[in-house]
């Protein structure tokens, strides 16, 4: 960052939020940590506060840069930084290059107390705000409840994207109280995960009591994350009833079809001679009406179908 005239640097007083040393010492001590750099741009016309969500799982050195452009006089703009709602007194720089005002805040995040929301404020006539939200990675389970049957076994999977938690644990809950699962029961619960970013809970010999909510917890250095999965246990009778119903319907259909066919065949065989005689009589009387052609065709079909 070039240092030009109009550069302000606040003295390194101990801030109420952290008791970290000043910037240079901090960089030297934690230089082996990865560096994260994030930007927010604001103008005098920004109506909505600008927010940026950052996922962090490992301790890192963080640089937060807010830039502000306005048509007015940049020297009259008041810059403040806050973490959550507490004012930050040190560890930031302000710089004006041309018509853009930059402010840079550096912090080393090494535990969960330093996670949260960091905001930069530019005060002119209106107050413009940019917020950086630091969160641990979120877990993804399944949105829909998992359905399984009594006596079956099932696998509950929890995973997060691009993450490697220190530890995974599983809890079950009926209501609001979370109870850790008894993993010692090896014939009931088996926990393993093929990758670091997922965990699998296999539940065997499922009974109706296993129905309910299961929670997977991921522990990171910078915090914890959890996700809820639901298990629904059905008995075999549940699909059995519609199954038997459909089978009964099919049997009925087949019986009706075959009976109808037998009936029409019987009808055809029995009064055949009588039918033909009656039709011949009808044809003789219809002859004069000129539907002779239809009659001929009808008779031909009769002989063919036999």
């Amino acid at each position: 960052m070039p240092r030009s005239a109009g550069n302000h640097q606040k003295p390194g007083r101990a801030s109420p939020v952290t008791s970290l040393p000043v910037r240079e010492e901090m960089m030297a001590k934690y230089s082996n940590l990865p560096l994260e750099s994030h930007n927010i741009s604001l103008t005098e016309h920004s109506d909505v506060p600008v927010e940026k969500n950052i996922t962090l799982q490992r301790p890192s050195n963080v640089e937060l840069i807010c830039q502000f452009t306005t048509s007015g006089d940049l020297n009259l703009v008041n810059v403040t930084w806050k973490k959550d709602d507490e004012l930050l007194e040190s560890n930031y720089m302000i710089n004006i290059t041309g018509s853009i005002m930059y402010t840079l805040y550096t912090v080393t995040i090494i535990n969960s107390k330093q996670m949260g929301s960091y905001s930069c404020f530019f005060e002119e006539e209106k107050e413009q705000r940019g917020t950086f939200n630091f969160k641990v990675p979120e877990l993804h389970g399944k949105n829909k409840p998992l359905i399984t049957y009594v006596g079956d076994s099932t696998v509950l999977i929890c995973k997060c994207q691009d993450c490697a938690p220190l530890n995974w644990t599983w809890y079950s809950s009926n209501g609001s109280v979370q109870v850790p699962l008894d993993v010692q029961m090896n014939d009931k619960y088996v926990i393993n995960g093929t990758n670091a970013n997922e965990t699998r809970l296999k539940i065997m010999h499922i009974s109706e009591e296993d129905q309910g909510s299961y929670w997977c917890h991921a522990v990171f250095q910078l915090g914890e994350s959890e996700e809820r999965l639901q298990l629904v246990v059905l008995s075999y009778l549940v699909p059995l009833k519609p199954f038997l119903g459909i089978i009964a319907e099919v049997v009925l259909l087949v019986a009706i079809i075959l009976l109808c066919e037998m009936y029409t065949q019987k009808k055809k065989k029995q009064p055949d001679d009588g039918k033909e005689f009656k039709q011949m009589e009808q044809l003789k009387s219809d002859d004069s009406n000129g539907i002779e052609n239809n009659a001929t065709r009808h008779r031909k079909n009769e002989s063919v179908s036999q």
Partner: protein, 420 residues
């Protein structure tokens, strides 16, 4: 004999049943996912597409044909329905992937093969004037059942999980038995002359036009399924989002349905051998496939997809309704069974071949072009069939087939004798 329109419905329902369950397999595989044994099944299914399930289901084809020739379609289709339902029932109790494969692939697959071939073949026996239309309508069952069953199966999965869903699908498959019951026995004049299934198979294997026709359809089948397997992946390569890509597939399915019915109607309305129409549709399908790599703009892709869907749907009813013109309605069961067994080899080779081409070249251009080439080659073979260039309507009459069947070594030109 021209059966009433009522006959179309049960046969259509019968044909509907078997392919309908094929599409259910995709839903079953998704359901097995919940049991945690998914990845292998998913990968297997996605790689081979529909072909993998076709081979086990087409192999019993000749058996079904032989049985149908002897006993008529009704007992065979009903037995096939029971087998298919049994396979699904056993699959719902599966504890391992092998169990699942065997139950669905082998048992249900055999059931579907026993159902599919006789129902499609007997259509040609029931209908002579409106044969193509009947075939086209019956084949729409495949598409319609996909539309209807996909959401139904999702609902079943979400309420009963895959075991319960398979159980209920098994009961639904039993309706194939009811459909089979509707297939009343039919006796045609040429039936006694063509002999039993063994004699029929022997005479078919010596029948030049039938063999050439089988070659043509095998070539066509090799290229036919490729877009089904690769279209979505190709669209993703062109940076399409999943939702518009899925929508495009539905568009293809709808134009496929329309094509089947339209081609069925056209096949009956236009005089002359149906082989010419088949060649027309096959050529158009091959051309539209070969043009796929060239189209980059969305409108061009949509137009091509509609064209491909329509033409590929159009060639299916004609491909089936052409068979009785070649071998006669007496040998239709054995003919169709043999044909399906051989052409499924093409389907089995097509998808992996195009997948291999894709891996080698890096995109789908080569595989689409090769698919188009296979289709054009198939349509080329069709030109060699008898009466291709005649302008009158020389459909084989029963008397000629009787003469033909008695002397299996009859040379080619004599087949059309006594018609014009």
């Amino acid at each position: 004999m021209d059966g009433g329109a009522l006959s179309v419905l049960p046969v259509g329902a019968g044909v509907r049943g078997a392919p309908l369950l094929r599409c259910l397999l995709r839903g079953v595989c998704g359901g097995v996912r919940g049991a945690g044994s998914t990845r292998l099944l998913d990968r297997l299914h996605r790689n081979r597409g529909a072909a993998v399930w076709e081979t086990p289901s087409s192999s019993p084809g000749p058996v079904g044909s032989a049985l149908s020739t002897k006993f008529g379609p009704r007992p065979v289709v009903m037995a096939g329905g029971i087998l298919a339902a049994l396979g699904m029932l056993l699959a719902s109790f599966a504890t391992s992937l092998t169990h699942l494969y065997l139950s669905i692939g082998l048992l249900s697959g055999s059931g579907w093969a026993l159902t599919f071939t006789p129902t499609l073949a007997c259509l040609s026996r029931y209908f002579s004037r409106r044969r193509s239309l009947a075939t086209g309508l019956a084949l729409t069952g495949v598409g319609l059942s996909s539309f209807a069953f996909a959401p139904l199966f999702q609902w079943l999965l979400s309420h009963y999980a895959w075991r319960g869903a398979l159980l209920l699908v098994s009961a639904l498959s039993l309706h194939l038995v009811a459909c089979g019951a509707l297939l009343r026995p039919l006796f045609l004049t040429e039936d006694p002359a063509v002999g039993g299934p063994g004699a029929q198979l022997a005479s078919l294997l010596h029948h030049g036009p039938f063999l050439r026709y089988t070659v043509a359809l095998t070539l066509i089948n090799t290229g036919f399924f490729i877009p089904y397997v690769h279209l979505v992946a190709h669209l993703q390569d062109l940076n399409w989002d999943p939702l518009p890509a899925a929508f495009l597939l539905s568009v293809a399915a709808i134009s496929d349905l329309v094509g089947r019915v339209a081609s069925g109607w056209l096949g009956d309305a236009v005089p002359g051998p149906v082989a010419r129409l088949l060649m027309l549709w096959t050529t158009l399908t091959g051309v539209s496939l070969a043009l796929f790599p060239v189209a980059q703009a969305p409108t061009a892709l949509v137009a091509l997809t509609v064209a491909y869907g329509f033409t590929s749907g159009a060639l299916t009813p004609v491909a089936f309704s052409m068979l009785p013109e070649l071998v006669g309605t007496g040998r239709i069961y054995c003919g169709l069974g043999l044909l399906q067994m051989v052409e499924s080899i093409g389907g089995l080779l097509g998808a992996p071949l195009s997948g291999y081409l894709r891996d080698v070249t890096g995109n789908y251009t080569a595989s689409f072009v090769v698919a188009g080439v296979f289709l054009l080659a198939g349509s080329g073979v069709l030109i060699t069939l008898p009466h291709f260039f005649c302008f009158s309507a020389p459909t084989l009459k029963p008397q000629d087939l009787v003469t033909e069947a008695l002397d299996t070594k009859v040379p080619l030109p004599k087949e059309g004798l006594g018609e014009d």
